[in-house]
Symmetry: C2
Subunit: 209 residues, 2 copies
DNA sequence: TCACAAATGTGAAAAAAATAACAGCTTAAG
DNA sequence: CTTAAGCTGTTATTTTTTTCACATTTGTGA
């Protein structure tokens, strides 16, 4: 059964999937757990254990076939079907992400952008449709958007998150430093540069005691 | 002794520090572990446990004094002294971070920017000095820069990281999807939006089985 | 064909982290 | 002053995650 893969394992398997995509493109046919471990900076034990959570053994004894392993992980973690995403807040960060062209190649399709500033909505040059912020619930529902990147100022984050939830969003990448109060069923990933810097700073301090 | 605080605890304490800064500004004097837990979405047990790693008890029985707790964490994790940082790669993401004005208030001082494109170095409008990429080692050393935000294309990331290391950098926030091969002593935090989306995608899939 | 070096898959052991339990202190109200 | 409710600090317990060990399988060269 596939339920209850430890969350750290899910993260490592996601990274492994990306590695396998790259290896496949560059024509590599097979790879061992040891080599994977070196690339991802984790132990070979962990690599094999993570793969074993997927409960679908490949041929034991032989190195992993890149293509087959990629398919196995993709199927298990549902990376196969492309998911629709949107960007909320089209300032510096939001606009950069909106126009980042490489998401498509990885199975994400940014189909809408939102901002409260009508001027931005009307003038920003983008390949997808842009809407004013109040239309979030409607558009998210109508277009079956599952993921959102939230790049608004901290004090607007909760309001926008609520609108996304109303529209039925399933996951949010939150760039603001606001801590969202949100239904547990919705997956949230916080990307706070200030916090990252602070954690690094602490680790540096504690490292050299 | 302060050594060996679990890494998850360091991250939570960093978040707590930020919360305490905000509370102090808005004039809150005291707060309980229960309230902290609600704000940070962790249990009150965990909050108290994390604080106990710092081995410097406040008055037991009374709620935490915001200011004192902030000072304790700041002193223990060395958030008190401001650290110098730089940005490498002044494209969309890099330029946004370079001009983000709020880092100063949190103890980070962005004192330099680097790009291989001389045109950008010369024309970009910024408050700090900008340099061509080959000068990274020299400038990092001379100005005692400890932290770097790396926002270059994936295929340039390793080269830039090596230059930063040569200059004596201590921590890197890496926005590219490249996996850096780097001395264990240097703290690295990867911020890969594509990977975040993928992890969210996996969690969504596994949640509704 | 056979032997052997090199892999994998997984149950078991160890380590790490989260959670709980509770003794003892604090504050506030009567 | 006394009591009761509420809170912290820390030890104990449980759960989660990582690491290990090894039986078993593959591919290769003589
Ligand atoms: N923009 C996004 O939404 C997004 C999303 C996911 C990941 N990323 C990643 O973040 C990184 C930055 O993204 P971006 O959109 O800002 O890219 P960008 O192309 O706008 O900017 C990259 C900058 O790096 C500079 N550069 C190239 N080689 C360099 C070198 N050797 N030394 C110094 N500078 C160099 C370029 O001149 C350019 O200014 C990339 O790795 C990208 O893949 C971006
Ligand atoms: N730029 C950085 O380097 C940086 C660093 C750390 C954190 N952040 C955080 O990331 C977030 C985005 O940063 P940015 O630099 O792109 O900010 P920005 O100010 O450039 O853009 C914010 C955008 O959000 C829009 N907005 C405001 N309220 C809105 C609402 N209710 N609905 C929809 N859109 C709304 C604004 O019109 C603006 O276009 C902020 O929370 C910021 O604090 C940014």
């Amino acid at each position: 059964m596939i339920h209850s893969i430890p969350e750290p394992a899910i993260k490592r398997l996601s990274a492994l999937y990306q590695l396998l995509c790259r290896l496949e493109k560059s024509g590599v046919q097979a790879i061992s757990s040891k080599e994977i471990g070196e690339r991802l900076d984790i132990s070979a034990h962990t690599v094999r254990k993570d793969i074993s959570y997927l409960r679908e053994a490949q041929i034991s004894g032989a190195r992993y076939t890149v293509q087959k392993l990629k398919e196995l992980i993709g199927r298990s973690l549902k990376f196969t079907t492309s998911r629709k995403a949107c960007v909320v807040g089209l300032g510096k960060i939001g606009a950069a992400i909106l126009n980042y062209s490489r998401f498509g190649g990885y199975g994400f399709d940014i189909v809408a952008g939102f901002d409260s500033n009508v001027n931005i909505v009307e003038t920003l040059n983008a390949d997808m449709d842009l809407f004013p912020s109040y239309m979030i619930p409607e558009v998210v529902t109508d277009r079956s958007i599952e993921l959102a990147v939230l790049a608004v100022p901290a004090d607007a984050a909760q309001l926008c998150a609520d609108r996304l939830v109303k529209g039925g969003i399933k996951g949010i990448v939150n760039f603001s430093s606001a801590l969202l109060t949100i239904d547990k069923k919705i997956a949230v990933s916080d990307v706070d540069v200030t916090k990252e810097l602070r954690v690094l700073s602490a680790m540096i301090s504690l490292a050299d005691r």
